[in-house]
């Protein structure tokens, strides 16, 4: 082997090792972040922390109202966002072949990258200003707007995986198209659609920016849709930027709770769909 070839091989070995190092760095950062959250959070999580509402500094308190608020916001945004997102996905996969379909697809793709803070400003303009105060409704609408493009694109992709022969068979038996889509295609793709919906819920459950001036946050238990409502993320933010050590500890504990929910959904979906992807 001559000198030039030896150099080429050395170069190849160095570069391929470097790519492995890059991957190792990324996985290492993930491990450091998750490990640190677990280490700081585990000590402060107990039953009282999970069910109590916040108290002044020095008196303990918990995140019960924030957990309830996050659940209400997620229910509200799912009720609005999932039907619209799934319907858009069905339109894109079953009818969206023309120019209008591509326009919707392009806008959905581009919307998934829209900064969530902008969605918050929009929800403020169309819901908070007319109602004249912060409300859970405004927060739910903001989260739903973030959900719709995500759900529509995953739904479209999942429905496209359903074999064409299934549709043709049903049509050949004389079923109208709406029955084919609702009765054959969507059930066949249902697990994929549920997966997409779960991932969208996991994504918006971590959103903070669109809630800051829509749902706003609250230190009390509330289930009224026209009143400000607490959420885990906004609570974490408020505690993180506060000057008190006790609240910092609570922020880490709340983060542990939030991350457990999000990771459970992500890993659960991964395990359930391992065969398909």
């Amino acid at each position: 082997m001559n000198q030039a070839d030896r150099l080429r091989r050395l170069n190849s070995a160095v570069m391929t090792t470097l790519t492995a190092v890059c991957t190792f760095v990324a996985v290492g950062i993930l491990a450091v972040i998750l490990g640190y959250i677990a280490w700081r959070g585990i000590g402060a999580v107990n039953l009282r922390f999970l069910i109590e509402s916040p108290q002044p500094v020095g008196e303990g308190g918990g995140i019960g109202n924030a957990i309830l608020g996050t659940l209400i916001l997620l229910l509200l945004s799912s009720a609005i966002g999932l039907p619209l997102g799934i319907a858009t996905g069905v339109y894109l996969s079953e009818f969206g072949t023309g120019r209008f379909g591509s326009a919707v697809r392009f806008v959905a793709d581009t919307m998934t990258g829209t900064p969530s803070i902008v969605v918050g400003v929009f929800a403020y303009a169309v819901v908070v200003l007319p109602l004249k105060h912060f409300s859970a409704l405004a927060g739910g609408i903001a989260l739903a707007i973030i959900m719709i493009p995500i759900v529509s694109r995953t739904t479209e992709e999942m429905i496209r995986l359903v074999p064409q022969s299934l549709r043709e068979g049903a049509l050949a038996l004389g079923a109208p198209q709406w029955r084919v889509t609702l009765g054959i295609v969507i059930p066949a793709a249902s697990s994929g659609i549920v997966t997409g919906a779960m991932l969208a819920i996991a994504r918006v459950s971590g959103e903070t920016a669109p809630l800051l001036f829509t749902a706003f946050g609250s230190r009390f238990f509330s289930y009224y849709l026209d009143q400000p409502i607490a959420s885990l993320t906004v609570q974490i933010y408020n505690y993180a930027i506060s000057p008190y050590d006790e609240w910092h500890a609570q922020a880490w504990a709340a983060t542990l709770v939030l991350m457990s929910i999000i990771l459970t959904i992500n890993i659960g979906v991964r395990i359930l769909t391992r065969k398909r992807f």
Binding site: N11, T16, T19, A20, L84, P115, V118, R153, E207, I262
Partner: protein, 337 residues
């Protein structure tokens, strides 16, 4: 199965209205089935709603920022002073902070993401590539506010104690690395952003590399190319898609809010030094929106939102077109959620 032929002769007066209705119905459903027409109309309106939503976002942001648009005009973008008490609103410090922090993010995350994608697609064995790829994607599942929390209490102290003194010592002759060392500033914001956009860029680059036909690899290997030389051939084939992935990451970095807000220092100033605090468009909105009591102040913040929306929409649109040009053949290279 249409009961009336579409090439009907002149409709009599009695038939005219039903024919028009029928034509509309046939356009919705070629089979003439009422259920089909209703179903398609319902699905269509959901799609239409998405377009209406985007248009109404632009309209709402425009109308609510009209006051500021009228008052400052183009000068809003070039004004350097942001002083709500005096009624001075110039967005340049925010634009500067947004661009600088995003550039730092790309500078770090692009090589990292390319390395990850190349490793996972070209080098790692199948049993390793899938779980490791999933772990990298999990970085994208961590919420922004959690990155912010981690940034305040872990990253910023590490930068203050180890990294920034090191940079100041060895690269202190550059104006970039001069000034007081606090651990909170443009550099910290950029690094947090880099971690956040890495999973996004690497996921799209993976899609792009996987779309390059394996005949390219086989040809290179058959000519005696080494592993790395083969990879370079693959990379050349994917250039538009990789460019798209990077621009997509840029779009995400420009609009990231919470994590940056928590570590960048939030001071509206333009400084060369990366150690100094800065401010981004998104964090200005997040911090000051609920404090804005005067109409003009609120209007200026909404205008910031409008700018951010239009810029990220253009950036993301361009990125999608680039990525799609490469991955079109493999159906549905969707969003890396």
């Amino acid at each position: 199965m249409s009961d009336e032929p579409s090439t009907a002769s002149f409709p009599t007066r009695r038939q005219r209205l039903p024919t028009l209705l029928g034509r509309w119905r046939r356009s919705l459903s070629p089979t003439g089935n009422t259920g089909d027409a209703i179903f398609k109309a319902a699905m269509f309106s959901a799609g239409l709603l998405l377009l209406v939503l985007v248009v109404s976002m632009v309209v709402a942001l425009l109308s609510d920022s009209m006051l500021s648009l009228r008052q400052f005009g183009f000068g809003f973008l070039t004004g350097q002073a942001w002083n709500p008490i005096k009624g001075e609103f110039g967005a340049l410090p925010f634009i500067y902070g947004t661009i600088v922090s995003s550039l730092i993010a790309l500078l770090i995350s692009v090589p990292l993401s390319l390395g990850i994608a190349i490793f996972l697609v070209e080098q790692a064995p199948y049993y390793l590539a899938r779980p490791v790829g999933f772990l990298v994607e999990l970085l994208a599942a961590i919420p922004s506010v959690v990155y912010g929390l981690w940034g305040i209490f872990v990253l910023a102290p590490v930068l203050r104690v180890y990294v920034e003194p090191f940079l100041a010592k060895w690269f202190g002759f550059l104006p970039l690395f001069q000034g007081s060392i606090t651990g909170i500033g443009l550099l910290t914001g950029g690094i947090i952003l880099a971690i956040m956009v890495t999973p996004i860029i690497s996921a799209v680059v993976r899609d792009v590399l996987e779309a390059v036909p394996s005949s390219q690899r086989e040809a290179a290997l058959a000519l005696g190319a080494t592993k790395w030389e083969t990879t370079r051939v693959v990379l050349v084939n994917g250039v538009p898609g990789i460019a798209g992935a990077i621009i997509l990451g840029l779009g995400r970095a420009l609009g990231e809010t919470m994590a940056v807000t928590m570590v960048i220092g939030n001071r509206p100033q333009i400084s060369i030094s990366l150690f100094e605090p800065g401010y981004t468009i998104a964090s200005a909105i997040a911090n000051e929106f609920t404090e804005a009591t005067q109409d003009l102040y609120l209007s200026a913040l909404v205008e910031l939102g409008l700018i951010l929306f239009l810029v990220t929409f253009l950036v993301n649109g361009a990125a999608r077109l680039l990525v799609r040009s490469v991955t079109r053949r493999t159906a549905g290279a969707g969003a890396p959620v």
